[in-house]
């Protein structure tokens, strides 16, 4: 039904059955007058509220969303609101990157006896939404296409890794191979300037292994499909974090995985490399030096300096060496962690909310809905049961609108909250080059800020922050209702 024009805005409330729904009842019993805009959806517990319900509402035309649960410690289910608090706070910090004003979403705690407080909360929130006015719609946004500035300085010197101990690595793999069903690595692809995954089962396979800046794929993506098998994996530092995260989440077993690691000096941003190479019929030669790669294609020489052509993630990489490994080769590189904002995120940070909405409108109109991003993601373990395509539950329609496509990206990002290691496979796999990694990076930034610098995939024993809680959250504070 349409919103009452001129009178109301669309405000959706999610209230837990035990405290806040009761608090709203108490306000009613006390005839505590409130604005009429709010529509309350009753849920058993604030912990039941998937943040995606809120995104769904906001993308579909809600002007404001209010969530209310039991006060911390008072949860009817003892801990539901603690989980909610973390998830909703992450959501609140995520919304602006989509171009949604985070003031349009608020969560709070109201007990069943706090009728007055409820009245105050509703009145204040409704007032706030009316001041903000009707929410800008993605449908109405003018597409805006913008490209991130890739002139970056890295936290460490990048290179081509040509001094890496590849022969030692091959020997180590061969020695282990009899105990393993398979070892995952890289081999040359259709030409010397591209690689594809290599699944080594025989010593001859091992000889095909290559190491260098073209090893862009994250081999960890294949790990969960080897469930129950003994499998080896060759990793760069970033890949190792995916392995650790999979271990953290119980998706692979430590005893089934053998990790071979060499320090990485950076990998190439193939999108930009391919763009520079343009159309060509044959690669004549690929030669390496310390600082970069020279490719001669159809007689024309192209020079790719690692400092100019590395993947965005490499510039801020603090884990060139694997965080977990069974066999380490080569000399580990030390990196001083420093301030680093990924280029696409920096671009979005510099935009206004409207610009961001327009930006995503433009990008999502280009999305083919091919799900390559999902298929490349090492943490996307649902695979055939992704909720993007299911009817039970049915989160999305198959309509090819920018809104549905952005909602899918949001689902992916929220499902990766506290899990995404920033390996960038989603963006790398995107055939049309949409900078979707920025959404995951914003979530990672929020998670790090809220949970004391937590980074996924560093410690196999660590509990991912959204699967845990603290009674008193150090960095999450209730906002005052003024």
């Amino acid at each position: 039904m349409p919103v009452l024009n001129g009178k109301e805005l669309r405000i959706v409330g999610f209230l837990c059955n035990w405290c806040s729904y009761g608090g709203a009842d108490t306000a009613g019993v006390a005839r505590a007058g409130q604005p009429t805009d709010l529509r309350i959806i009753r849920v058993p517990c604030s912990g039941r509220i998937d943040p995606l319900f809120i995104v769904k509402a906001l993308l579909n035309g809600a002007d404001g969303v209010l969530v209310s649960g039991c006060h911390p410690r008072d949860c009817h289910y003892s801990a539901g609101n603690y989980y909610a608090r973390r998830r909703l706070e992450v959501l609140k910090q995520f919304l602006p990157v989509l171009g949604i004003d985070d003031r349009r979403f608020e969560y709070t705690w109201v007990s069943a006896s706090e009728g007055q407080r409820w009245q105050h909360v509703v009145t204040t929130f409704t007032d706030r939404i009316h001041k903000l006015g009707p929410a800008p719609r993605l449908e109405d946004a003018e597409p805006l296409l913008k490209i991130a500035d890739m002139a970056l300085t890295s936290l460490r010197p990048l290179g081509t890794g040509q001094n890496a101990a590849l022969d030692d690595l091959k020997a180590a793999i061969k020695a282990k191979l009899p105990e393993l069903d398979c070892v995952i690595g890289w081999q040359q692809g259709y030409d010397a300037a591209h690689t594809v995954p290599l699944f080594m089962r025989t010593p001859e396979d091992v000889d095909k292994l290559v190491w260098g800046p073209f090893n862009v794929n994250n081999p960890a993506t294949y790990l969960p499909s080897f469930k129950g098998k003994k499998v080896g994996i060759v990793v760069k530092g970033c890949d190792s974090r995916s392995v650790v995260e999979l271990l953290q989440e119980n998706l692979i077993k430590r005893e089934d995985v053998t990790i071979f690691a060499m320090p990485c000096q950076g990998t190439l941003d193939m999108a930009r490399v391919n763009q520079e190479l343009g159309r060509y019929s044959a690669i004549d030669s690929v030669s390496y030096d310390e600082a970069g790669v020279t490719i001669v294609a159809d007689g024309k020489e192209h020079r790719f300096c690692m400092n100019d052509y590395a993947q965005g993630k490499c510039y801020g990489c603090t884990t060139p060496s694997a965080v977990l490994a069974d066999t380490r080769l080569g000399t580990p590189e030390a990196v001083q962690p420093g301030a680093y904002t990924p280029p696409e995120l920096a671009m979005l940070d510099a935009m206004t909310l409207e610009e961001r909405l327009s930006f995503w409108k433009g990008q999502m109109e280009r999305c083919l809905r091919c799900y390559a991003c999902r298929n490349a993601c090492p943490m996307c373990v649902c695979r055939d049961y992704c909720i993007a395509e299911s009817r039970e539950p049915q989160w999305m329609t198959q309509e090819a609108t920018a809104k549905e496509k952005l909602f899918f990206q949001t689902i992916h990002a929220m499902h990766l909250a506290g899990r995404c290691t920033g390996c960038g496979e989603c963006q790398r796999a995107c055939p049309v080059g949409i900078p979707i990694l920025a959404l995951r990076q914003q979530i990672a930034r929020a998670v790090a800020q809220l949970f004391d610098g937590y980074k996924p995939g560093l410690d196999p024993e660590a509990v991912p922050p959204l699967l845990g809680y603290e009674l008193e959250e150090k960095n999450i504070h209730e906002r005052e209702w003024k």
Binding site: M1, D25, T36, D50, Y77, G80
Partner: protein, 653 residues
């Protein structure tokens, strides 16, 4: 689906500001709505009859009632539709009274809002499925945690009702705080004399298994079938051999062991029986002060023990018990009053707690019932009692009233006069709270017959004058003056807090607790004994401050709850719980990690690991549903699709 919608006028309560007929008319256009009408009072007999008739007449298979809050009449209408042959869960409510008609005056807006609330109820109902409860067996044994007077009462009542009881007590003897008291108000009965027989009953009752000096280590399971691990701390005395003769305590050379039972008012021996009426009357060695255990040489108690019960090698032991429900009766502790630096912060020996004073008054205490002040062992003349030390004090985070201090202070003032006739007692108070039977009369007696001087005001400072007295400087707000008393002894009515370790126990029991550690009852007025975890009940101060009669009453009440539960042969669960779609489950275990109730376990399903909900344990919170990325675990009646349908009904641009 054929849905019937009933819009209730609730007299003028709803119809006053909502056009109910209009709402019914709008509802007819909603998908699957086969019938919609408005009713004067839907919850009344005729209203319910009309709903039943409409179900039959229009062959409805689902019903929406738009009326008051579901927290009021949802059960009523569920029964109504069930009488008409529908599954009780094929019913939804729209709250158009508390959330609409009572809070807004604009009839147009209210009517529109009511219609939308009906619409989302319809959308939800369209995705409802009939649910039915499952039944399961009950293990008719009860665990009672805490052997104070509340726990004792609960244990005896359950045991008398034929229920086997497992009673776990942290200390070496049951009896709790009441066992430390000299007399009880308002009758000035001897505490040990009235509690003693009950303690003996516990020891002798064939239905009670007592684990003293033990703690609950772990609890798993659910109502009807809990598994409890109990940690028995080493006593270094084989209780099966110990006769409680006391020969060891007489000969023990470590005579300066702190005496916790006597609230550290005097020393005791390293091997010790708390007090003469202790149950079990068995000796325990304090390992921190026993010469044999600390230095490896002594062994006197082993030599003198006539039954050879001493065992210096004893280790702690974990025992497992299976029970059907649990009563928590863990009582209280005094707060750490030494935060009051203005009262000396614990530096002055003659500033003591009320519980220490009880031990000085008690014939079984360190002074054998003579009031002798700790500093010099002299009888005090001027005794000052200060109320609300650590109660009603926000500045130290203790804003609540400890409830019974007013009464025991009056009692202690009376007893002081009894013990030392030429003494004078002064009580600094803010309010005298004496609402019990014969309570106010008792405080009046303390004033009128025993000459206790009640001074209305707090005490700002206590300091030694350097001549063996304590200067107590306070206010008499009734006089509007600052006053000073030269006291020989100061007794602080120290506020109570939940006993040490309460939050940890609450986590094990999966029950809520407040910021002071008191356990949360299910409903503050109407379910004061239940918790939100089925099969866990509360008794005594662990739930909130209360005095002995209230603790005993709640102990009996908890027992009644246990007996009522066990009167049934089978239990039924609430079917609004989560279920796993095994196809979608990838066994990542995120739901298991997040479930607040431990209600999800891993199972083998056709050679693969999958999550499975333990139907009797699941409480229906839905945290798992919002945790599972692939949507493989869905909470019945609050599925993703249902909530999405509600969102979509409201937000569809």
């Amino acid at each position: 689906m054929r849905i019937g919608v009933f819009i209730c006028h609730c007299g003028s309560n709803i119809a006053g500001t909502v056009d109910c007929a209009k709402v019914a008319e709008l509802a007819r256009a909603f998908p699957d709505v086969a019938y919609a009408t408005d009713l004067m009072y839907s919850c009344a007999e005729p209203g319910q009859a009309a709903i039943e008739a409409a179900i039959h007449e229009h062959k409805l298979d689902g019903v929406v009632v738009a009326s008051c809050t579901p927290r009021m009449h949802e059960p009523t209408f569920r029964r109504t539709v069930e009488r008409a042959g529908l599954n009780r869960y094929m019913f939804e409510m729209a709250n158009i009274r508390e959330h609409v008609s009572w809070i807004g005056k604009d009839k147009e807006a209210n009517t529109n809002k009511a219609a939308e609330l009906v619409q989302i109820a319809v959308e939800k109902l369209r995705r409802d499925k009939p649910l039915s409860a499952k039944s399961f067996d009950i293990n008719k044994r009860v665990l009672i945690i805490g052997g104070g007077v509340a726990g004792i009462q609960a244990a005896l009542d359950c045991a008398d009702g034929g229920v086997p009881v497992v009673l776990v007590e942290r200390e070496a003897t049951i009896g709790g705080k009441m066992a430390k008291l000299d007399k009880t108000f308002p009758t000035v009965d001897c505490s040990a004399c009235i509690l003693g027989p009950k303690m003996v009953d516990v020891a002798q009752h064939p239905n009670i298994t007592l684990y003293a000096y033990s703690e609950v280590e772990d609890i798993s399971g659910y109502v009807g079938n809990f598994t409890v691990k109990i940690r028995k701390r080493p006593t270094y005395v084989d209780w099966s051999k110990c006769t409680g003769c006391g020969a060891c305590t007489e000969k023990c050379p470590s005579k300066k062991t702190p005496d916790a039972f006597n609230e550290f008012t005097g020393p005791t021996t390293a091997i010790n029986i708390a007090f003469p009426q202790a149950i079990p009357k068995k000796a325990v060695i304090n390992p921190e002060h026993c010469r044999q255990l600390v230095k490896g040489k002594c062994g006197v108690c082993a030599k003198v023990c006539p039954t050879g019960a001493i065992n210096y090698e004893m280790q702690e032991e974990i025992v497992t018990e299976e029970v059907g429900c649990i009563v928590a009766a863990t009582g209280y502790d005094l707060m750490d009053w030494t935060v009051y630096e203005e009262y000396g912060g614990g530096k002055y020996p003659d500033v003591i707690t009320s519980l220490q004073y009880e031990r000085l008054l008690s014939a079984s205490g360190p002074t054998e019932g003579h009031i002798l002040r700790p500093s010099d062992g002299k009888e005090p003349r001027n005794v000052v009692f200060i109320q609300c030390v650590g109660s009603r004090d926000r500045s130290i985070g203790r804003p609540y009233c400890s409830g019974f201090c007013c009464m025991y202070t009056a009692k202690q003032a009376v007893l002081t006069k009894d013990h030392i006739p030429d003494s004078q007692s002064y009580v600094f108070y803010m309010d005298v709270r004496a609402p019990g039977k014969m309570y106010d009369e008792f405080t009046r007696r303390a004033i009128e017959e025993y000459g206790t001087e009640y001074i209305r005001g707090r005490v700002s400072k206590i300091y030694p004058d350097g001549n063996g007295h304590l200067v107590v400087r306070g206010a008499d707000t009734l006089m509007g003056e600052q006053v000073e008393i030269l006291a020989d002894l100061v007794v602080l009515a120290v506020g109570v807090e939940a006993s040490k370790g309460s939050p940890q126990l609450a986590e094990k029991l999966r029950i809520s607790y407040d910021s002071y550690g008191f356990f949360m009852e299910s409903h503050v007025k109407l379910k004061p004994v239940e918790t939100n975890t089925a099969g866990v009940f509360l008794a005594g101060v662990c739930q909130g401050v209360k005095d002995i009669p209230a603790s005993v009453a709640q102990g009996s009440a908890a027992a009644a709850k246990v007996l009522a539960l066990f009167a049934r042969d089978k239990l039924e669960n609430d079917p609004q719980i989560a279920a796993v779609d095994v196809k979608r489950c990838v066994a990542c275990g995120k739901c298991i990690r997040c479930c607040p109730f431990g209600a999800i376990k891993e199972v083998e399903f056709r050679g693969e690991v999958k999550a499975q909900v333990i139907e009797t344990v699941c409480q229906g919170c839905g945290v798992c549903t919002s945790t599972c990325p692939q949507g493989a675990i869905q909470l019945a009646h609050a599925t993703d699709n249902q909530i999405l349908a509600e969102v979509n009904a409201l937000c569809q641009c």
